[in-house]
Symmetry: C2
Subunit: 270 residues, 2 copies
């Protein structure tokens, strides 16, 4: 699935919800242990419960890598369970020189057939170009993140008065068009989100930080809306850990539906 | 192995050579195919051939991830073949918010027992702290890289006249001491290397970019030497692809010995 197909899905479903599968074996609900089979069962249950409400799934690779080889097997089976009707993101935040970046692009676009992958901008254009060389895939570049550490470097002021993240957004936006390039922008920075929408009016923003990290759907939609929707809001813990009991699947379904309703309301305001 | 033990090894062997195991199945020498067993055979041959000349090995995770589950098995077997007498680095360049960074730290320090891992600074302190929380392990942060794209963001001038990479180096150096923190500094930037040594006089620098990327051992040693040595020069292609024929093991051994001789000469000049 590419960004155009994602946009169609967003307008049809009145939802821009991405469910984050940050599955931690230590946090599985009652009745499930940390075995390969149980983690796959949990992930499939999360996907099945949220298919109607969500338009995308984001797999946070760190949680799978930490399990070793078994984790990559689980990731593969989880990805296979995401239907073609939904957009799949590897949240991997990779970044390296050209020949190594090409291997990472191969990893997530060929070995695993994700629709999109997140990448880090620090090393510049040749660390991102190998991902953009896949025209039917989507490259999602870190812009302004939702964590406290964003103040350390991302928000530094440059000699021309711009902030580093602003320079990253506008420079990288020149390397690929809005059909294959998105940016990660944290929801905990609503004022910044509005500013960012002004800088890059047409690019999709992948917005984490709603729910556990503090942002709300309403703030995000009000600050970040674009003519094409242009928003994908990720919720991880707020959906997949909605209940620690054996009603975890229905709880996740309800949580995702509640987010979808907030998104529908946001649509109606635009 | 920690940085102090690495330092002892460097002074004993008169070598600061790190061999980069960026093993590409498509580039294996004559007689070896891309099977799991052949790649392991090749990696073990590279390690065995360079044990005397090298003090460290760096596994570039991208090349293994691109093979899928099989690649992580190969990485595990390769790591197991690196003896305790040598320093092992996962060149993974990870970077994410705190709870995710903690999973990456677990991946490389617990699930796989590397001595060190490379990380990206863009997202700030809480993306690096979970790695520093392992006091016996080494965290290697990207400073100034050796690729062309380094000009895009790393070398941007900040409002106080410093360059971004200078700010990254001095800020991050305040987050951990020189016993557990290193920086990646590209060898193709010799003038910058001298400047960096002035900014962070005591920290080890992991220097890629010698050989295939253009830098020389002499330039690096002259610009980057510190009282504790403070240098680890990585060579990947120049050693592991020294021959494409069936003499690949002796060719790698000779190439590594030649680098060690250059390093010994550099020692004698200090």
């Amino acid at each position: 699935m590419n960004i155009q197909q994602l946009t169609t899905s967003i307008f049809q479903k009145r939802s821009f919800l991405c469910v984050g599968l940050d599955t931690d074996p230590a946090k599985l609900p009652a009745g499930l242990s940390g075995t390969t089979q149980d983690i796959i069962t949990f992930n499939k249950a999360m996907i099945d419960a949220t298919l109607d409400s969500a338009v995308a799934y984001k797999i946070n690779t760190a949680f799978y890598e930490a399990m070793g080889v078994k984790g990559w097997e689980i990731m593969e089976e989880t990805l296979a369970h995401i239907p073609d009707t939904h957009f799949s993101i590897a949240d991997a935040k990779r970044g390296d020189i050209g020949n190594t970046a090409a291997q990472y692009a191969r990893t997530f676009f060929e070995t695993y057939k994700f629709d999109a992958v997140t990448v880090a901008p620090y090393m510049g254009r040749d660390s991102i170009q190998p991902f953009l060389d896949y025209p039917d895939k989507t490259t999602i570049v870190l812009g302004l993140t939702s964590n406290k550490g964003a103040a350390d470097f991302e928000q530094l002021e440059l000699s021309d008065g711009k902030k580093l993240y602003e320079q990253v957004l506008t420079t990288v936006a020149g390397w690929g068009n809005a059909d294959q390039l998105m940016f990660v922008v944290g929801a905990t920075q609503a004022a910044a989100l509005k500013n960012i929408r002004g800088l890059i009016p047409n690019h999709f923003l992948l917005v984490p930080g709603v729910g556990a990290q503090g942002g709300t759907v309403e703030e995000v939609a009000s600050a970040g809306w674009a003519p094409n929707g242009g928003l994908l809001v990720n919720v991880s813990r707020g959906v997949i850990y909605a209940s620690a009991k054996d009603d975890y699947q229905t709880a996740a379904k309800s949580a995702a539906m509640a987010y979808q309703k907030q998104m529908q309301a946001a649509f109606e305001k635009q």
